[in-house]
Chain length 279, copies 2
Amino acid sequence: MRSRALIEILRPVNDVMIGIAVIAGYLVGGGRAPLPALEGFLTGFLISGYSMVINDIFDVRVDILNRRMRPLVRGDLSIGGAWALALSTLALGMVTSALTGMATLVIAAIFAALAFLYSAKLKMMGLAGNIVVALSMAIPFLYGGVMGGINYLLVFVMFSTSFLTGLSREVLKAIADVKGDAASGIRSLPATAGVEVSAVLSAALIALAVPIAYIPVIAGLRSPWYVSGVSIASLIFILMAIDISKLRDPQRAYVMKKRMLIPMAIGLITYVVQGLLLA
Amino acid sequence: MRSRALIEILRPVNDVMIGIAVIAGYLVGGGRAPLPALEGFLTGFLISGYSMVINDIFDVRVDILNRRMRPLVRGDLSIGGAWALALSTLALGMVTSALTGMATLVIAAIFAALAFLYSAKLKMMGLAGNIVVALSMAIPFLYGGVMGGINYLLVFVMFSTSFLTGLSREVLKAIADVKGDAASGIRSLPATAGVEVSAVLSAALIALAVPIAYIPVIAGLRSPWYVSGVSIASLIFILMAIDISKLRDPQRAYVMKKRMLIPMAIGLITYVVQGLLLA
């Protein structure tokens, strides 16, 4: 097994992002100690690495046809070696997770189970697959937030809005890929229910996220940072939702999906800055 | 002029990133008020938008041959219209900058002048062009930091390390592009001085950034967050610098350039979190 194959199958850039999301959740949740933050980062990194390996293992037959450069297809890593890697990253991740308590261990185990379910089955099943992907983007925030253990309201809002907007984005992605997915037998929502219904659902998910983001304000959080950050993100989201609801052209969905990263980043920054200011 | 052409030429994703970098610098510099943060964001957004338009104007002859999809080449926006857009974003940016004081106005003007110089001339001149690109990535942090006006030491470290590692990354990029650049007449460092010299320079720039990141620790900042964040980023940077110094294959430079975003992101997060904790 070459170290290059190891890096390719583990996709460290993705894993680092998940680890950083855990730290972001921890800070928003009120955590300030470096050691639990490091343990949370490692858990996120390891369980995400496990999910990448699992995904490549289940995809190996399809990748032989389409993506011949993946390490399992090239033979730089055996299927047995990949299973050993998946098991060891999972086991190590469970250990680093257990260090921060039982609640986080349960969340990590749910994340790991979802990743397996997704690769094994849900990936081909349209909306259910989209929901699992969106969950797996939001769970690291929840994980870190539970570790922080103080500002649960802000963590709940961060988790819900990132899940809803993430799911909206996954549906947009499915609209953009509607032709290719239909050809590969993926029963995506746009392929079965049509582009129109999918676009309206994608817009509705965003519309649902906006009032949730204001719950802390209603509950008395008068911070001008939070109010302005959430308002800017919400304004962009609402304008985008109007556009998305009228979407008919799959090519255009691709553009909207990319553009959605802007209000998502603004929202994420708002939560983290607000969480740190509450210190 | 269609709104799509406007978005394409202004590249709002890039501009938002520059605006966010200003806010990051502001928070690290000790700033906490939302209104100056918004003014700083708008300045970064507008001056960055101006530099994107200027770049497309100067590139229009080359783009006619190579990138026929750019709005000026397609004719969705006239050259005159582009100049009008560049002038108005620049003027607006100067106004939002003046709102936060004279020092920031001078920095914004320097940024705008560098962007012009780069598009008009330095782009073709190898290392000088690389230096200007790296500076334009670091200046938004300095801009926001000066606005913050409290933690100058952390701002100085953020500015210097992002400049040095950014320049290292630009040299790596030039190594990756060595064949294409030579064909287009760009006198890049790897084309004139060789891949070997360029790789050693790229590694040396990283090596220079690491001790600078520890200056606040030497000066008495004993925060475990800062020490662990900077240590993780430095460790990755040093391991990468060893690899880079031995680099001979341009293809490999492309991989290293992408991977460098990981320690850069960790460093950036460390500065911002530390800046907020000092509140």
